[in-house]
Symmetry: C2
Subunit: 442 residues, 2 copies
């Protein structure tokens, strides 16, 4: 029986429950809407097992996105394939592997944006800027807070957890919970991305390699010629101080990923590191403290770590670095106060890795500000599909943080039914809860 035959065997007509948003703002309703159907040969239909509520859902919720029609919310989902378009068959050669291998019944997680896997941007790993890119949870692509979701370009977009299990080499994850695996849809890869943008930057390379700029940085093929550096780093130059601004769920993911990668680098490169995690909200700081305590000591390496309010963060960034400031700051909020704080605590030749979803306001810097500090910025959306393999490794390694629900050190607070959606949207918007997942079948 071919995949398309299997599809025909399933009855997925009729209506389903979904979380819906109505303009202009703050209007969340739970409604019955039609179950989506295959409309393009590359589509898959996924039966949603869990859907996440994400900080960036709040942009729509608050009416900041200039959307004037109702929509089905959400862009984080894990589920099971229940139907596949005719592009999925055993000899779909020359196309992304999933077109040949994905089966009805496979467990999948979807990134929060569609990516074809076939254009230049996908091949190069910049999957969130795929030429077919589309965000789930906008008017023309219904989101994941529903019982069923249509996934366009599914052979490029989806990550097959059933086959990853057998081929990833990352160890057994059959016992890892769906709630944990759901974090792969957005927030954990986004956290990893925030950390990687900083750590791969050529201005950080001298600290990692011990060779001064620009010789520590990477350029293959003798592009630096035979020239030699005229200075040398000392051991005490090899301390990496990194700030994290914003300790919502993505900020916690960024911090844990950063600590994990720094511990590996510290062990292999003889590097010392310091992380200062900043948030103005006390409950978020408490969560971050608990998460840090839960991480096993072997993963902490030889670094030091502090959770801080804004004022404390500024003070520590100066004290720990003799006034120089942080080598890099991960900005995980998406507004101008966060960007300004990042600028204030970063040192000259520092990096601001900004994964916050920024809106209409102009950037809060003059040309002179950025020239005089030699600041580097990396802005934008995480290419989740490209970050999956690394994020999965970190997810499996850090089940102490990402595995539980509702414990002191858990990233996820609760799993609720759709009926609670209006309330949890409000609570989340007001900072009264952490990460919430929906079970569409509860």
């Amino acid at each position: 029986m071919s995949a398309s035959d299997e599809k025909a065997a399933l009855d997925i007509s009729g209506t389903q429950k979904a979380v819906r948003w109505y303009p202009p703002k703050y209007d969340i309703r739970v409604e019955a809407v039609p179950i989506p159907q295959i409309i393009d040969p590359d589509d898959a239909i996924v039966k949603v097992k869990l859907a996440g509520l994400c900080g960036s859902d709040l942009h729509i919720y608050r009416g900041h996105e200039d959307v004037d029609t109702d929509l089905t919310c959400g862009h984080e989902l894990i589920g099971e394939v229940v139907a596949l378009g005719p592009s999925f068959h055993h000899d779909a050669t020359g196309r992304p592997e999933l077109y040949s291998t994905l089966r009805v019944g496979d467990k999948v997680v979807s990134p929060f944006t569609v990516s074809c896997g076939e254009c230049h941007f996908c091949r190069i790993g910049f999957t969130c800027r795929c030429i077919h890119s589309c965000l789930f949870g906008i008017p023309h692509l219904p989101g994941g807070q529903a019982q069923y979701v249509r996934i366009p370009k599914a052979g490029g977009t989806l990550f097959n957890l059933s086959s990853a299990q057998s081929s990833s080499g990352t160890g057994d994850f059959s016992k890892v919970s769906d709630s944990s695996l759901l974090l792969l849809a957005d927030i954990l890869p986004t956290g990893v991305f925030a950390a990687m943008q900083a750590l791969q930057h050529p201005k950080i390379a001298p600290i990692l390699t011990g060779k001064p700029y620009p010789y520590g940085g990477f350029v293959p093929g003798g592009a630096l010629g035979h020239a030699q550096a005229s200075t040398a780093l000392q051991d005490n130059d090899r301390v990496l101080t990194i700030g994290v601004v914003g300790l919502g769920p993505v900020g916690v993911c960024a911090t844990v990923s950063l600590l994990d990668i720094l511990a590996r680098l510290g062990a292999s490169q003889g590097l010392q590191y310091e992380v200062i995690a900043v948030d103005p909200i006390e409950s978020r700081r408490t969560k971050m403290e608990a998460v840090y305590k839960a991480i096993d000591v072997s993963g902490k390496g030889s670094g030091r770590f502090a959770v801080a309010s804004i004022d404390e963060g500024k003070k520590l960034a100066a004290e720990w670095t003799d006034g120089a400031g942080c080598n890099a700051v991960l900005e995980v909020v998406g507004n101008n106060s966060a960007l300004t704080l990042a600028y204030d605590i970063v040192r000259p030749f520092g990096i601001i890795s900004s994964v916050g979803v920024h809106q209409e306001p102009p950037l809060p810097f003059t040309g002179r500000d950025v020239y005089n500090k030699n600041v580097s910025f990396d802005f934008g959306r995480c290419p989740v599909r490209a970050m999956f393999p690394i994020a999965l490794e970190i997810l499996l390694k850090r089940q102490d943080v990402f595995g539980g629900i509702g414990e002191e050190a858990s990233l996820i607070d609760r799993i609720v039914s759709f009926d609670e959606a209006p309330q949890v949207y409000e609570d989340f918007d007001k900072g009264r809860c952490g990460k919430i997942l929906f079970d569409p079948w509860r």
Copy 2:
């Protein structure tokens, strides 16, 4: 006889000629001022052989820097050491090498800013953000457009061309003219820096290495774990398209450096490249065309190259890349129209390497602009002292461009006397001439 004995033997008292600026703007005078003296043990006094007029001198000239006292202009100089402070002696151990080795009579070039060579920023290669950093040509540090200049922290700041000759391994440069070597003070290293910031960026690494993001990028020590990329680059993904915005003297240096490095990368990495060099001023485009023709073919590799007006540049950036835009843009102007053009022609996940000296206006981008395009920016001043060795290699290799004076393909237009300073400042400000040098003794 020790260096400090030699110093005593020279008579450098009295007055000298210097190019002076008076507030509020456009007021250049040639005046007699006292010859500078050693005032700190780390000082050197340099007898200036040639001094450059640089685009960033125009910020002061035009009154954009809020300076309200007169000053001695200029930050580019080559000359001969005529006096050394007491820190310079044969056993200045534990300090930068020049404190032990620099001698009266040595030929030196100075970066446009002071750098001690001893602080963390200097050791790591970020010399322009030395904790003792100071720009030549401001009220409290008289500039290079004089017959003599005091160089603070001279053992860290100066580059000794006499000893570099014997130890650089870059070949004989005893016949290289002083006018050519002067380009090391600022504009050639700044051009190399603009190119290196782009080429070392992790978002360019996939094109150089053939491995998708983030696996193509550099992070040592297994920080990426065992995870594998889920896509692969094709040969036609490995085309690097780079724009240069601004073809003044620094822009020409940036373009020549870029072409030189790309040719090496192309040869060693099987890479194709394209460079689009943009300027609205016709005379600058004509100069760039002549410079490109003068570069020998072996250095061009397998790339393609175009000089373009703004509209042509936008058109080519789209046509050559199937609408994607440039992988990176070097912004070598220092105003918001240049930054905006760079943004317009860069692709998603592209890099803007900005070495222009930006002023008070806010950056011309909203948070949404930079998020939606996943733009990376590197802003700021070139760490000239750290870039010297690479810049020297390129200088020697590209004497066809950097060696001559006043020829069609020469970067340098003319060498004039200080008496012509008021006129050439005005001409340079109005775009009526290219790079001008002063001979203080003419």
